[in-house]
Amino acid sequence: MVYLDFEKPVVELEQKLEEFRKQAIARSLDLTNSIQTVQREIENRLEEIYSNLTPYQTVQVARHVMRPKVQDHVRFMTPDYIMLHGDRYFADDHAMWASVGSLDGRTVFIIGHNRGSNVKENIRGNFGMASPEGYRKAMRVMELADKFHAPVITLLDTPGAYPGIGAEERGQAEAIASNIRDMFGIKVPIVTVVIGEGGSGGALGIGVGDRVLMMKYAMYSVISPEGCASILFRDGTRFRETAQMLKLTAPDLKRLGLIDEVIDEPVGGAHRSPVEAMTFVKEAVKRNISELLEVKGPITDYRYNKYKNLPPKMD
């Protein structure tokens, strides 16, 4: 386990638990009671810590290296998936995942920011920071989904679109602008889930869903708290304040009416119990797809009206 600074209180307890387990096996002792006591203690402490997370601590959990990533969700939701590559113009951007598979019998296309779970994957996927070809691949695959009459699931997990020379030369702004616009023409349901870090326009570039769901400890923001602090305060170390002000947590965004649903996470976050967390996501996605398939009239009208009617209402 990789521990976050505020998880320190459970480190010792988990070491103790491990020690009891080892001894129980090594000396054939019955330590059930002690083990259960420590386990309960761990759960209590985690419950206590996680029900009082500050916004910046939520950001840390959202970015946790062991948090289930796009490829984990894809394998869990659609074990028979086929990966789809390339934008047909320039390259295959590893920062953008695209696949087709069946979700409990229903064909679905999944698109997501592929930030990876270890250093090798991180580098290959450019830490989930997509380039124009990634956004163009995403749009190509959404159009393919349209042809298959299959719903689209988009999974958001990116610090932002890649700010590099090549990305600018190949039209990063144009690629994202076209995606955000043309998603309004996709005639199949789109369910968007923010599974980790929802970083601004780079996230929204695949994020124009009919339903936007967020995992409980994910974040979604117009700018990273660090970037916001360095611009507004000219002091990048004041990110805890900006994280607080940006209202980037799932419960805050639900309360403000900007997202549709908060998907619960197990005690201690998705990185502690990934299967449980991914089950919650899968069930929420399935339910939302079913509901969207029941929508009367064109789904594109439903989508437009959803965004048009987002708060605040203006006279």
């Binding site: 702004a173 602008a177 023409g185 326009g201 923001s221």
Partner: protein
């Protein structure tokens, strides 16, 4: 006059003779640099005289999330309105250009860096819906540092709201001309500025997704001269044309005269 009171050209750093400079549409007579134009002046130089009728000018931003940087966002809005006499970072309305009716929007860089929040999003969304209803072409002069951080995800969602309205307008045959002015980065670039059927720009304008400073920090090297300028983007295939300010009105009129309009059966 003390040295620092003399306004200098940002292009060549030479002092500007203000009356001559203003009479020259704020183009430096010495180096040709297209300096920024206050929004009302821009309207005047773009549309037929006296034809501009402002719409939704009353919309004002609110502090939706209790944001405060060096000052509370609510105060920043009030002060900026008092200082600039404008209610937000875009002015929208109906106008004529060479006698053709258009729905038109002008971003106002003087209002919190032309940053795009709920009001800008709402006005552009309404402008596109209005243009579709009236079956007239739409023109937006983009000039923006990006999304307005002080409105957080509210401002991010404007990218989707504006884009949805523009999608519907264009799907029905509406012509949208995007005119990109200096500078245009971030959320404005990643939405309406690059969604034009025609995209034109003023010479030398800085245009990009990420700002040059962010890119330099990421790649840890200096950017080559001319990177992210209008001319660079035209060369890379992302702009139809770089047009001098003095020719802009003529150019828009010419394009409008070649366009046959939205088919009547729509709506």
């Amino acid at each position: 006059m003390p040295e620092d009171n003399v306004q200098k050209c940002k292009g060549c750093n030479r002092p500007l003779d203000m009356p001559a400079f203003e009479a020259n549409m704020r183009i430096c007579p010495k180096c040709g640099s297209h300096e920024q134009v206050p929004v009302r002046e821009r309207i005047k130089m773009t549309v037929d005289e006296g034809s501009f009728k402002e719409l939704w000018g009353h919309l004002v931003s609110k502090d939706l999330i209790g944001f405060a940087d060096s000052k509370p966002y609510a105060d920043r809005i009030t002060e900026t309105i008092d200082k600039t006499g404008e209610n937000d970072a875009i002015v929208t309305g109906d106008a004529l250009i060479h006698g053709t009716k258009v729905a038109i929007g002008f971003m106002n860089f003087g209002f919190i860096g032309g940053s795009m929040g709920v009001v800008v999003g709402e006005k552009i969304m309404r402008l596109a819906e209005h243009a579709l209803k009236e079956k007239v072409p739409m023109i937006i002069f983009a000039q923006s540092g990006g999304a307005r951080m002080q409105e957080s995800v509210f401002s991010l969602m404007q990218l989707a709201r504006m884009s949805g309205a523009i999608y519907r307008f264009q799907e029905h045959g509406g012509l949208y001309i995007s005119v990109i002015c200096n500078p245009c980065t971030g959320g404005a670039s990643a939405s309406f500025a690059f969604q034009g059927d025609l995209i034109i720009s003023e010479p030398g304008a800085l245009i990009g997704f990420a700002g040059p400073r962010v890119i330099e920090q990421t790649i840890k090297q200096k950017l080559p001269p001319g990177f992210q300028t209008a001319e660079f983007l035209q060369e890379k295939g992302f702009l139809d044309k770089v047009v001098d300010r003095k020719n802009m009105r003529w150019m828009l009129g010419k394009v409008l005269s070649l366009y046959r309009g939205i088919p009547m059966e729509v709506i």
